[in-house]
Amino acid sequence: MGKTLFKDIFREIKKSFSRFIAILAIIAIGITFFVGIKMTCPDMKITADQYFKDNRLMDFYLVSSVGFNKEDIESIKKVDGIKGIMPSYSIDAMIDIEDTSYVVKINSLPNTNDENYINRPLLVSGRLPTTTGECVIEKSNFKENNFEIGSKIKLTSGNSSNILDNVSTDEFIVVGIVQSPLYISKERGTSVIGNGKISTFMIIQESDFKLPVYNGIYITASNSEGSFAYTDEYDNKIESLRKSLEDVATVRSNIRYEDIKLEANIIIQNKESELKTAQANFANVSKYLTLNQKNDSTQEFATAEKEIQDAKDKIGSLPKVTWHVLDRKMNVGYVEYENAADRMDAISKVFPIIFVLVAILICFTSIGRLVDEQRIYIGTMKALGYRKRFIVLKYLIYASFASIIGGIIGILIGFTAFPSFFANAYSALYTLPKLILQFDNTFAILVMIAAVLVTSLSAITVCYETLMQNTASLMVVKAPKPGKIILLERIPFIWNRLKFTHKVTARNLFRYKSRFFMTVVGVAGCTALLLVGFALKDSIGTIGTKQFGEIYTYQMSVNTKDGLSKSEYENISNLISNIPNYEAKLNLLLKSIDIGLGSKESSCNIIVPEDTKGINDYITLHDRVSQQKYILSDNEVILTEKLANVIGAKIGDDIYIKNGEKDKYKVKVSGITENYLLHYLYMSPKLYENLYLIKPEYNQIDVKLTALEDSQKDIISKSIVSSKGVASVTFSNDMLKTFVEMINTVNYVVLILIVAAALLSFIVLYTLTNINISERIREIATIKVLGFYEKEVSSYVYRENLILTLIGSLFGLILGFYLAKFVIGTAEVEMLMFGREIYPMSFVISVLLTLVFAWFVNVVLLKKIKNINMVEALKTVE
């Protein structure tokens, strides 16, 4: 029995090959997309994790306002839970290439090779520096101007200081090309020299640095090894070490502060005693001096006294020594990469729903048609006394066979080609080793079982439906569905106005209800996928222009360093006013705080504008939906939208602002303003003073400039960055550019969704139209005999398709709208709010593309209609 059964099945497959392929294809494609997108995120993360582990990416990074000395390091070494500790030097310098100069970050390479060797560069070619004057440099970023091994790099300091004060030589020879786990994105950070933007990094031997203190300390935790980067487990594990490090930071920063004060005091004391001696001497010798000499000396003493007094004042207002314990999340590349991976993961949540639905649909129709065609065979088998179970077996095997082959193909492509495609796409943005492709056995088996279940269950269902009929009625070919009066005919007003052919279409639409339903579902799925894609593009793609064009309406922003004196701040302020393109400026205080409502807390940045009325000219504070402008009042605050969502605050709510661990200030929320990037709380200077009991010390200047060109930007930023006390200069449209570049990855997602939608609609429409044509072959032959031209025949058949496609598309827009909302909600990261609107154009394009796909299927099937042989088709008995 087995052999004949299989022979029979193979003959069946051959006979109905396109149908078999349709089942196989929908399974293969569904699984490819599902597995592929699902695996992209973990593959990306595991690749990064492996890279980080292999190259010992730090878990913590300590920075201090005064650097670190030997004692600092000794006391940190004593902390429990540290695996490796690497103090490091780092300076920014300039390199000239042709006519442009670039900022390069120079990091130190320690000479150990144990666990204390952290953030190890990955050698792409060449070797690491072994002696003085050698360096390795990164590959990318200088695009056209990549350095080659053997080339020489000449460094300058970029300011008035001498570079040779900091490093032992100003000329380095490139001995290797590297990548670094510290820099996986394009972002290299900001600098206070050059144009303020770091272009690339290089690494030299630690001994080539001549700095008195270390700039930073990299630390790895001993308990983080077993957990993967980007997991909560990792975040939790390193928490204990963070606590210990913060404790040391508090203690040591105080000690350092006292040390510095002490040193300064000693110097002052020395100076004072020097002065005293000098004055005593002067008293002794004054009688021998001329008047002029006397005057000179008195003058000198006065200056010296003043100097000493100034120094004393300075000690009084000596800025506190601050230590920061930073972790990987302060690394832009680390975070950006995670976001990119998570975005992929969010998309993977849409696929199963749509594809499972469509797979069931295709199996039902295809196998249903197969069973219909074989009624007589089934009847005969039944009459011959075969058990139902045996008869079903054939169709069950047929369906399972298609889904197993399809499933294997899908799994193979899904686990390999698909993630690689994305990794390739992302390689333009992230520098990482080759993607690690994981194969998840359990996942693969689960997916496979699901696929086989879906197909075989639909096969069994349709089979049993037929088998339940009595044998005699099975032996007769299924009667064509009789015509019926449809609802529309009862409305003569409409019906009588319809053209004849339209009436036919209307009848057919309602006649084949299951086909109606299936086409609508399939097409809806297609349109929904397209809409999700375009909606993602709309919501993510536009936040850049919204944030840096509509919300931030200033062109440039200058941040100053902490603890500037009034005159230093004035200096910077004057410098800005003298820029040729200068129009207006606004002083702001920016600092980070924690706020909360009830049990929910979030950290955010507080912004205090000097001029509460003028802030709307720089930062638009308004409601996203109504566009209603907000005015900053003296007793209430304004929150950004996402921040309000995070803590669950509404207008009128009383939230609290934390000051230190214990103090909580209560304030009322007067507005929730549109904002996409980071969290902000806006408050007036008066309120700030009331709460904190000090006047705000402004540390940011937002500047409006008249139209400026890129070349001017460089000049402006160079002139400001070089002045004392400036921390960074950023231009809104540079931010916009960076942002747009990062966001562009979403285009790949859109592309994938379009391809998926195209394939989906093709399979659905092809299968259904194909079956439709086979079922109505006599009808089509008849109208051909009547003398319908080819065009008329195809429009007779396709008009229904068009209408079904349109209806499906409309449903798809609704489905897509909600799916998009869901996906965007899931893909959103904490500090970012995606746009909330889907442009009308996206709806239009989704429908149009669906129509194009449908049209394509119709063109493919046109041949089938054309090739219907009238004589043959009409010869068979009805």
Binding site: A479, P480, K481, P482, G483, K484, F500, T501, K503, V504, R507, N508, R511, R778, E779, A781, T782, I783, K784, V785, L786, G787, F788, Y789, E790, E792, M870, V871, L874, V877, E878
Partner: protein, 234 residues
């Protein structure tokens, strides 16, 4: 004077594997305008094939033929469709009505595309179905369905009505009434009608009887005085 239909040495060969089947093997005949013609012969003689070629549904692979002085055997696909559309009415053994359309609409399906067509309702009245206009095929008997099918063919006002065993699936009386309908149509409208039948008993009703065998014309008989079908018994 040229005949309305000139069929000369028409051939049609089917290839099944290595075997060539000469379904129509050199058929020649001519038919006058307004004639009622019966084509008879045993099963497999090639009758349907001839009719299909004549109706422009099938192409011949040898010989040529003219209908109304137009060389149909030379027409391309599109011209053949125009020919079917304007000149030909077909009636099949199995009616071939569109299940999803009622009687009236089935007729309208044909008149929709013709310029000089008749009013569908009038035609259906003529075939005696005025009460069944809005019935679907599944609600009609075989004879009634065949009437709809004839009405559909007639409504196009064709020059040539081709019927392939129109009574094959019908009982005696119904069959007879259908044949009467065809004969009357021929007489009253002057339409040329060609009917294929197995039933040699009805040949007296035709103006011309073409007997076929093995893909060839066996004989052509002309009845000077055709018998009205009512008077034929079989």
């Amino acid at each position: 004077m040229n005949k309305f239909i000139e069929f000369s040495d028409i051939k049609k060969t089917y290839k099944v594997g290595d075997i060539e089947i000469h379904a129509v093997n050199g058929v020649t005949f001519s038919i006058d305008k307004g004639e009622f013609v019966i084509i008879a012969g045993p099963s497999g003689a090639g009758k349907s094939t001839v009719l299909n070629i004549l109706g422009g549904m099938d192409a011949s692979d040898g010989g040529n033929f003219f209908v109304n002085e137009k060389e149909v055997s030379k027409l391309n696909q599109k011209e053949l469709t125009t020919y079917r559309r304007n000149d030909i009415g077909f009636v099949f053994q199995f009616y071939n009505l569109v299940q999803n359309l009622n009687a009236l609409e089935n007729v309208e399906l044909a008149t929709e595309i013709c310029k000089k067509s008749f009013d569908p309702k009038t035609i259906l009245e003529q075939v005696g179905l005025i009460d069944r206009l809005y019935n679907f095929p599944s609600q009609l008997s075989g004879g009634e369905q065949q009437r709809v099918s004839i009405a559909r063919a007639l409504a196009k006002n064709p020059k040539l009505l081709l019927c392939d065993e129109p009574t094959g699936a019908l009982d005696y009386t119904t069959g007879k009434s259908i044949l009467k309908l065809l004969q009357d149509t021929c007489r009253t409208t002057g339409m040329t009608v060609i009917v294929i039948t197995h039933n040699l008993a009805i040949t007296p009703m035709a103006d011309k009887v073409i007997k076929m065998k093995n893909g060839k014309v066996e004989s052509i008989t002309i009845n000077e005085t055709p018998t009205p079908v009512e008077r034929i018994e079989w």
